[in-house]
Amino acid sequence: MIDSAPAEVDYSPTGAEAGNGDAILEIEHLVKDYPSGLRALDDVSLHVGGGEMVVVLGANGSGKSTLLRCIVRLIEPSSGAVRFGGQDLAQLSGARLREARRSIAMIFQSANLVKRRSALSNVATGSLGRHHDLATAFGRLPREEMLFAGELLQRLGLLHLANKRADTLSGGEAQRVAIARGLAQRPRVLLADEPVASLDPEAAEEVLVLLKRLAVHDHLAVVCVLHQPELALRHAHRLVGLRHGRMMFDVPNSSVEPGEIAALYRDSPA
């Protein structure tokens, strides 16, 4: 859908409520045991639909980052299924895994841009999964992808940064450029692992507003891990609480109880 999205799409905030339609990403009974014996994920099931921004909350070590990493197989899940586009990601490997990953973009706590390249080139590298030719293997970027990258930067209001080197961007700018790079993948799912943890409050706000707009306007399934409940309450359509690897709640933003959130952070052994 991003493929064909016109450049003039307006990203003004809307009150559009989401969660309509079928789930794009279906996580079923996911379990992750670490060799140390720690059960980081304990029977977690989660369905995320297009147009929906789901925020995962939890204390340190609750398994929220492990959940995202298991989805894209940066970490191997021990059992369970991750259904996406008619296949089980947990069963794929090699080229088929690479192909499936193309439709899932991931944003990290740090922007992870290549520091000595321009913002524009960094965005265009998000499309490399679609181009496996000799030129891109030797460091070239396809011209049409550079143009598409410029289009993405324009849509995110970042076109003025296009030719700035990544190491000169502020934290908030870099993170939004990283989101643009994710969009260059033409994803259907956007995973964000504490994307605002190293940003000041203003930049954090901008990034979360952007993620929500992308969910609504581009009909992406957005799963965002956050540390700050107040940010989650302001931006999420749906809230999921993890504690010691178990899912404590999965509720629409409007019906979450403050006590439920507080319970996630109460420190007591499992």
Binding site: E99, R102, F108, K115, R116, L128, G129
Partner: protein, 269 residues
Amino acid sequence: MSAHASVDAQVLLPRPGFATVLWRLVLTIVGAALLGQSLVVAKARPQDLVTGVTGMADILRRSMPPDVQIVPRALGAALETVDIALLGTCAAVILAIPLSILAAENVTPSRPVYLGARAVIAVARAVPDLIWALLFVTAVGLGPFPGVLALAVHSIGMLGRLFAETIEDIDMGPVQALSITGANPLQIVSQAIFPGLLPSLIGISLYRLDENVRSSLVLGFVGAGGIGFLILTSINLFQYRQVSTLLILMFVLVTVVERLAAHIRTRIR
């Protein structure tokens, strides 16, 4: 005194124990013995410096004034010396880049490949370029080309190791970010690893070029051409006035290359 009342001097600055004192004594004796035997083995006789003064003065007198007639021939040889270093360094850089990727622990495709690449680097490094030159002169004959080969092989080892260490220090964030966009390993190397590495690679390579110009002068002594070969010939013919000209030229050459390389290194970031 009262200012230190809260600090127990005995605890903060304890007297060295018996074992420590003994250990220091042993180390001192071993160090002295080591140095002593090297003086004997190397047949160091400081008195030779005194008796040799007349010989030195004689050579210096015979070297003056420098013979400028040899300059045109020397300039050609100097170019050859620089070209041997330039070609050897370029070949080494081109081959060391892929080798260093295989030999960097964080990006190597597999453990056996890593060990293999490290072994190649170790052998190329361990054998000095002068020995490589002797081998290549025997194999392909006298002239500048065996010099190029010798510098290339030795430099692959030196550069391969430095490049690999630089790669091991890179930020793996962009690498991870690109790998989950579905980029393949070659793309990750060329698009995420290489751009961040470029200034370091250029800096290291220029330093190597500087070293190789010096080495290439010495390689001339074993028949690999260039200004070194001219110096050898002149010494063998007792043409000390030519030798002094050549030495001055060599000094200028090495200094210019070194300053130039240093200047370029400071300009790239």
